[in-house]
Every structure is written in structure tokens, then in C-alpha cells.
């Protein structure tokens, strides 16, 4: 969906409210309601696909609206949401939820493990439901491309849950860079301390088989993934480390930390991607730490740029030209650094606390005038779009292409050497073996739409 200054739905509904369209027949409030439009004062009926962990916070983020159904195969993980909303219908399988509650649902939040993001979102969109999907949008490049096209095809309002995109600081960062304050940006570094302390990755992780807990529907939890014995090593949260379910630290954090670089540098498809270092390789999980390099071509007046992703860090990385003792990014070892021909800018994990490097330069620095609109908040931005407002800032036409290039880094960790990327044809021309990881395998009984 193209980013429009004023959306057609917004214009249409606004025109109706101002009396420019006859009050009966086509264009009347009742006929618009039949088409699924809501006035800003009406509440959306939202269903939650995934109600535990991040699913719970997504439910709370949409508290201004009606929660009408929840689906989660893990009763224990979802217990807090299930208890807090005792009268809301509960399901294990979102497909059954759509069958039973579909007519009541306007929109869904998708907060499952990564491997089900794409399927759940596409099921919702193809049924005309607006979607707020957690990051990363999908586990594979193909799914991200399908969702990008699907959002446009079905005309629904979408948003990926990378809330930094709505931050004031992320937008200040764009405006600082676009003002030319640090010249042309030719290199970016983004880093995170994850997975350290959050979930295990590395050779010591072996998923030992165990009995399935009575509170878990393992078959539904696996969803499209191949059947395998249950192991407590997989969940909760730890699924991030397993390539069939998650995308490692890059999948967890790059949508946040690389979000501001993606927005500010208008990144598109890279020319190539390479995992240039990794430690703690594992048969079952992503490595303990990795450094991934993406090479992007020139974009408009912006020159080619190298983007480096570093994960599994215990301390802030060091860069030439940065004064000793200078704090980069956030003190919890998450952040980004833009290297320009005239200077440097650093941001925190979510694009916040944007500042020149060294920070002392900020004392005499006047921020450029704003050129970007400001967000009312990430959930509100999406809810507004669902009711006919402008597209949300990280709608799938934005998030889809972003996640497609980010996910190339996940594949790069499986191979030695540089992978050239042919975005148009969605393939790696110099490494056919890598192409098998571009799309998921669907278990029998599961389909994408």
C-alpha cells in the first residue's frame, strides 16, 4: 500500500461526515459499516492471536477497543490474559476462532512465535481483518513478501510491532541525518546484548524430549512447522534460538535497532549479505554471537552504505574515531551508530536518545526543523488507520521490505562467504543452496491462506 497524504478511506468517510455525500444508499453510514469502516468514536472488535508474553502487552496496548476473542495453545503462558478477561471467548487454534467468531472480529493482534506470524496474519487479512503483527513480521523472506502484497490486495490496515518507528527520537534522527549534519552516511553499526541472559543459543543447547504439559496443545503450537517431540527447551521464549521457530537475536532486536537506519537511510534491498564472524555454532540453534554485513546500493542522493549487525555482545563495541569513555547507544548494550563523512550520530535501541557523537556536540547544536509528522503512539497509529485514518507508520508496505532484507541476515548465518541477493527474483544467484531457506515448509493440514 502506498503511503498517501490522505487515505481514500479517510477522505471518503470524512466527506460523508461533512455532509458531502447523501445520507442514504451508497455512501451512507450504514452502507459504510457494512463495508467494515468505523468512525473514530466507534470501538474496534479486536481478537488476540497469542495472549501470553508479548501477546498480553499487545492486548493491553489496544485496551481502548473491545477485546472479543483470544487464541493461544499455551494455557499456562496465557493464564494472565485468560483470567483478566474471563468473559472473552478463548480458543487454542486461531483457525477455529475465525470460524466461530469471524463475523465479530474487525482486527487482530498477532503475537505468536515467529514461525506463525505469516500464516496467522495472512489468515486474518484474507478474511478482511486489520492486523497488528509482532516483529519480526515473518520468519522467512517469502512470507514477508506475501504479507506485503496481501495487505494491499485485501485493503486492510496493518502495523508491525516495532514501536521505535513511532518514537520522537527516531524521527529526530532522520531529520538530523537529512539536514546533512554528519554528511553522507556510508556505514552503520547496530548491536545488541541478546541473546545473552535472555535465552540460550550455542552448542550446549540440546532439545531433550519430555512429556507434553497438560496446559499445552503441542500440535497447535507447532502450527506449520514439522512435527517433532516436545521439549521444554523450546518454550516459552526460548523458541527464538531455534531456526524452525524463531530468527535468533537479529529477529528479536533488529526490527527495533535497525528500524531507525531503515527509515533514515531509506534502505531497500541489499546487493549482498555476509556473516563475517560467528562464535558458538550449534547444531540446533543460532550461534552465541554473530556479525553480519549488508551492502546497500546508492538510494537517490544517498551513497552506498554498509550496515553491520552485531549480536551477543557483553559490552559496547569500539569504533575508530569515537572518544574513549563515550557512551554509544544505550548503556544496556543496545544501539546504533551512523558514520558519516562529517561526523557520527548514535541512537538507543528504539531510536530514542538520538545524539551527535561525542555527546558534547549537542550543547551547541540546534535541532533541524521537523519535516516528518509525529506519531500518536504505535498502537494508536494502527487503530486510527483501522478506522479509516492514514496508513500506520510501520504498515506492511514499509515493514515487509524492511523485514525481507533483515531476514537475509538469518540465512547468512548458515553459510560461509558472501551471498549475493537478487531481490527481483527472490534468490541468491551465487549460492543455490541458500535459496531453500527463503520460504517455509508447511506441515500437512496447514495452508497459508
Amino acid at each position: 500500500m502506498a503511503q498517501l497524504g490522505t487515505s481514500r478511506r479517510h477522505f471518503f468517510f470524512g466527506t460523508l461526515l461533512s455532509g458531502a455525500i447523501p445520507s442514504g444508499g451508497f455512501g451512507s453510514v450504514s452502507s459504510l459499516k457494512l463495508l467494515g469502516y468505523k468512525s473514530p468514536n466507534e470501538k474496534l472488535n479486536i481478537a488476540a492471536i497469542g495472549a501470553g508474553g508479548k501477546g498480553y502487552s499487545d492486548i493491553l496496548g489496544c485496551q481502548s477497543e473491545n477485546l472479543v476473542a483470544m487464541a493461544d495453545p499455551d494455557e499456562k503462558r496465557a493464564a494472565r490474559a485468560f483470567q483478566q478477561f474471563p468473559n472473552v471467548p478463548k480458543y487454542k487454534d486461531f483457525r477455529q476462532m475465525f470460524d466461530k467468531e469471524g463475523k465479530r472480529i474487525d482486527a487482530v493482534t498477532v503475537s505468536t512465535p515467529d514461525h506463525m506470524h505469516g500464516t496467522a496474519s495472512m489468515w486474518a487479512m484474507s478474511r478482511g481483518k486489520h492486523v497488528y503483527c509482532q516483529k519480526p513480521l515473518t520468519r522467512t523472506v517469502w512470507e514477508a513478501r506475501q504479507l506485503t502484497e496481501g495487505a494491499e490486495k485485501y485493503g486492510v490496515a496493518t502495523q508491525m510491532g516495532n514501536q521505535g518507528y513511532s518514537n520522537e527520537g527516531a524521527r529526530q534522527c532522520c531529520e538530523i541525518l537529512w539536514s546533512g549534519a554528519i554528511g553522507d552516511v556510508t556505514e552503520v553499526h547496530a548491536w545488541t546484548n541478546r541473546p545473552l541472559k535472555y535465552w540460550p543459543q550455542g552448542p550446549e543447547v540440546v532439545p531433550a524430549e519430555a512429556a507434553v504439559p497438560p496446559t499445552l496443545d503441542w500440535d497447535i503450537w507447532l502450527g506449520i512447522a514439522e512435527m517433532r517431540p516436545y521439549s521444554p527447551a523450546y518454550l516459552p521464549l526460548t523458541w527464538r534460538g531455534f531456526p524452525d521457530f524463531g530468527c535468533g537475536a537479529i529477529g528479536d532486536m533488529a526490527c527495533h535497532i535497525l528500524g531507525t537506519p531503515n527509515m533514515a537511510l531509506r534502505l531497500t534491498a541489499p546487493l549482498s549479505v555476509e556473516c563475517i564472524r560467528q562464535e558458538g555454532k550449534s547444531k540446533y540453534t543460532f550461534p552465541k554471537s554473530a556479525v553480519i554485513r549488508f551492502d546497500f546500493p546508492a538510494r537517490g542522493s544517498m551513497p552506498p552504505v554498509k550496515v553491520f549487525w552485531h549480536d551477543g555482545l557483553e559490552r559496547q563495541p569500539e569504533f575508530e574515531g569515537v572518544p574513549p569513555g563515550e557512551l554509544l547507544g544505550d548503556s544496556d548494550v543496545n544501539g546504533s551508530l551512523f558514520l558519516g563523512t562529517k561526523g557520527m550520530v548514535t541512537t538507543g535501541c528504539y531510536g530514542e536518545r538520538t545524539r551527535l557523537v561525542p555527546a558534547s556536540k549537542m550543547l551547541d547544536y540546534k535541532l533541524p526543523d521537523p519535516v516528518l509528522t509525529r506519531s500518536p503512539g504505535h498502537y494508536r497509529d494502527w487503530i486510527r488507520a483501522c478506522k479509516g485514518g492514514d496508513p500506520a507508520c510501520s504498515n506492511f508496505s514499509v515493514a515487509g521490505p524492511f523485514v525481507q532484507w533483515m531476514l537475509l541476515g538469518v540465512i547468512a548465518m548458515k553459510f560461509e562467504g558472501r551471498l549475493d541477493w537478487d531481490a527481483r527474483n527472490m534468490r541468491f544467484p551465487n549460492n543455490p543452496a541458500a535459496n531453500q531457506y527463503l520460504r517455509p515448509h508447511f506441515r500437512k493440514g496447514w495452508k497459508f491462506v
Binding site: G169, L327, S331, R353, R355, M362, L363
Partner: protein, 140 residues
């Protein structure tokens, strides 16, 4: 707690109750900045992880307030918020580098930014309470 610190905390707390009801985000930011400043105030040396973390929270608040005041077209408040953001970045940096003197200087500069804004936009009410006096130049 030393006198300047008490005044600083009072200013922030006043800002909290003073934040106009129609601007809930401002109330939340004043609460957050009050808590972070209180943490810093208690530290004899404003260095180390706790000071860095508090300074980072303040940096985030000032950054958001730049956007807030810009919407209201109040240029002086935008300027003070930008000064606060710069001071918070200085403070976080100094605290991270264990430079206590630089941290004290930055903390004072941060307090000055708060004070300037409160002087201009805070109004004392009967009973010792405060409210923020905001008169937008153009409708929001």
C-alpha cells in the same frame, strides 16, 4: 539532601501536579523525570550504572518533550527541552565515564533547563498546588 537538590526536586514534583489535565503525556513525563531526578539526587557521586540509567530516562523524556512543545509552537520550551536533552546526554556520558565533576555540571545544567520551563509555564495555585499554564499560539 542539599538545598539546590531540594529545590530541583520540588520543581519537578510541582511540574507533575501542574501538568494540565488535558495533556496526560506531559503528566507521565513529569512523573518519570521526577523519579529519575530523585534517583540522581540521592547519589553522592552521580556516576555508575544507576546514574547512567537515570540520565538515560531523563534524556528520553526531554526528547519527547521537544516534540510535544513543537506541536504547541512554544519555541522557548522547545529550546529548554533541547537543552535538557543535551544535558542528559552529557550526564549519561559523564556517569558512564565515571567523571563525577562533569556529571555534577551536567546535572546542574539539566536542572536549569527544568527551572526555565517551569518559570515560564508553571503557575502556583491557592493551596500550594501548581498547574502548567499553556496557551498555544495556534490550535493543537
Amino acid at each position: 539532601m542539599r538545598a539546590p537538590g531540594r529545590v530541583f526536586l520540588l520543581l519537578l514534583t510541582a511540574g507533575l501536579s501542574a501538568a494540565a489535565q488535558e495533556y496526560p503525556e506531559l503528566t507521565a513525563w513529569m512523573k518519570a523525570s521526577g523519579a529519575a531526578s530523585g534517583t540522581l539526587q540521592k547519589l553522592e557521586r552521580k556516576t555508575g550504572p544507576q546514574a547512567v540509567s537515570a540520565a538515560e530516562r531523563l534524556g528520553g523524556v526531554f526528547e519527547n518533550m521537544i516534540g510535544f512543545w513543537r506541536q504547541l509552537k512554544l519555541d522557548d520550551a522547545v529550546k529548554w527541552s533541547a537543552e535538557g536533552k543535551a544535558a542528559a546526554a552529557q550526564l549519561a556520558n559523564a556517569a558512564y565515564a565515571e567523571d563525577a565533576a562533569a556529571a555534577e555540571t551536567a546535572f546542574a545544567r539539566l536542572g536549569a533547563a527544568c527551572h526555565s520551563c517551569h518559570e515560564a509555564y508553571r503557575e502556583k495555585l491557592a493551596g500550594g498546588k501548581y498547574r502548567i499554564r499553556i496557551e498555544p499560539k495556534e490550535p493543537r
